[in-house]
């Protein structure tokens, strides 16, 4: 006897169950996609599903993984590391912010992107702007002043400039009396902070490190 296609069969108890489940599945999917939008509408942020999951699970392992990737020179970031950074940044935690700042050396390959803006090519800067506010600025200052490499300080300067306006930058410089510093590295950092057309050294391929 030839078997009929399922739409021509009489509904059985099992098929009704299957229909109920598929309706539930569709409902669940809608809810999953709508939740961030609803959250945004009521004043929260709209994290991706991956990041919401991460914020609940302790990000210790992911943070360790990211800390192990802190680079001594500008390096092109891979997609897995970038995703890990996004998930961690969504937690808005202080330890994550410090790790992200230390990962300022990672950048996207400028050849593969339409934008040439440093703030968009350096994931740390992009994520600090998206998930953090100006409360993170003292941490960036501390890391930049501690770091000896000029490429790091330049990127830190871009990060600071993307978070606070020039008058606030001047206030911070005055707070730490950076202008009066005798250290040429610090004076260079102050120049970078107030330079609107600063060029940042970007790594352009995974093999090429500066």
């Amino acid at each position: 006897m030839k078997k009929l296609p399922f739409w021509m069969m009489r509904p059985t108890k099992h098929s009704r169950c299957a229909h109920t489940t598929s309706f539930l599945f569709v409902g669940v999917c809608c809810l999953m996609f709508c939740t961030p939008a609803i959250a945004q509408a009521v004043g929260g942020s709209a994290p991706a599903l991956g990041s919401t999951v991460t914020s609940l699970i302790a990000p210790r392992e992911q943070l360790k993984k990211l800390e192990s990737l802190i680079q001594a020179a500008p390096t092109v970031v891979d997609e897995e590391t970038y995703q890990n950074m996004v998930n961690l940044a969504a937690t808005r935690r202080l330890d994550v912010a410090v790790a992200l700042v230390r990962c300022l050396g990672l950048n996207r390959n400028p050849a593969g992107h339409s934008t040439s803006r440093t703030a968009e090519l350096v994931p740390t800067i992009e994520l600090l702007g998206r998930y953090y506010d100006e409360s993170v600025v003292p941490l960036i200052y501390a890391e930049a002043l501690e770091h000896k490499e000029s490429w790091f300080r330049d990127r830190a300067a871009v990060a600071i400039k993307s978070l606070i306006k020039e008058d606030k930058i001047r206030e911070m410089d005055a707070l730490f009396s950076l202008d009066a510093s005798q250290d040429p590295a610090i004076l260079e950092f102050v120049d970078s902070l107030l330079n609107s057309n600063m060029e940042v050294d970007l790594a352009s391929s995974p093999a090429q490190q500066h």
Partner: protein, 194 residues
């Protein structure tokens, strides 16, 4: 049975992100709520504010850390319970140490240098000294070139940092009551003058 189990799994999966997002919204609300309670002078903390501070600290978020630093003005009543050190009487110090550790120090430095209130700088110095060793404090001072900083705030903060036992002004219930009585008498006096 399989269908039942899979539908339960799907429902749980759908509830999970909802819970996380609502958690984030509630964290934002708590931080804002605490922001509205930041004291302008040393103040004795009440039970509900203390619980709120604990909940905010648990988020370990940077914006929460900033608000907690600004809440350094809260203290437990030193005249109540067993004798404790100033550090133990200030909940913000305890919470910053417990949930953030030394990474929060740059935020405390910036807030202390910005503040014009000696009582706030003393408490900030106490918080820094409870988290960092002497050598780490010295390193931070150098990093932020505090030694060469000519501003009065920076100089006062340095002296608080280098002092082993600065006198931290603590609020008490009785001092609060005295202040209120003083204000009331002043009002009466002003009214009489008018």
């Amino acid at each position: 049975m399989k269908i039942f189990v899979s539908s339960i799994v799907f429902i749980l999966l759908s509830v999970f992100p909802c819970t996380v997002v609502s958690q984030e919204i509630s964290d934002n609300q708590k931080i804002k709520q605490l922001e509205n309670l930041v004291p302008a002078e040393p103040t004795v903390i009440d039970g509900s504010t203390k619980v709120l501070m604990q909940e905010v600290a648990k988020t370990q978020r940077v914006d929460a850390a900033l608000i907690l630093v600004r809440c350094l003005g809260f203290n437990d009543d030193p005249e109540w319970g067993h004798p404790r050190s100033a550090q133990e009487l200030i909940p913000a110090i305890q919470l910053l140490k417990l949930h953030y550790g030394k990474t929060v120090a740059p935020i405390i430095y910036v807030e202390a240098l910005r503040s014009d209130h000696p009582w706030f700088r003393d408490r900030a110095a106490l918080a820094v000294r409870s988290m960092l060793s002497q050598s780490e404090i010295h390193k931070m001072d150098q990093l932020f070139s505090l030694d060469s900083n000519k501003s009065a705030n920076a100089q006062a903060f340095i002296s608080s940092l280098s002092s082993n036992a600065p006198d931290v002004e603590l609020a008490t219930y009785s001092s609060k009551t005295l202040k209120e009585v003083g204000r009331h008498l002043e009002e009466i006096h002003n009214k009489k003058k008018q």
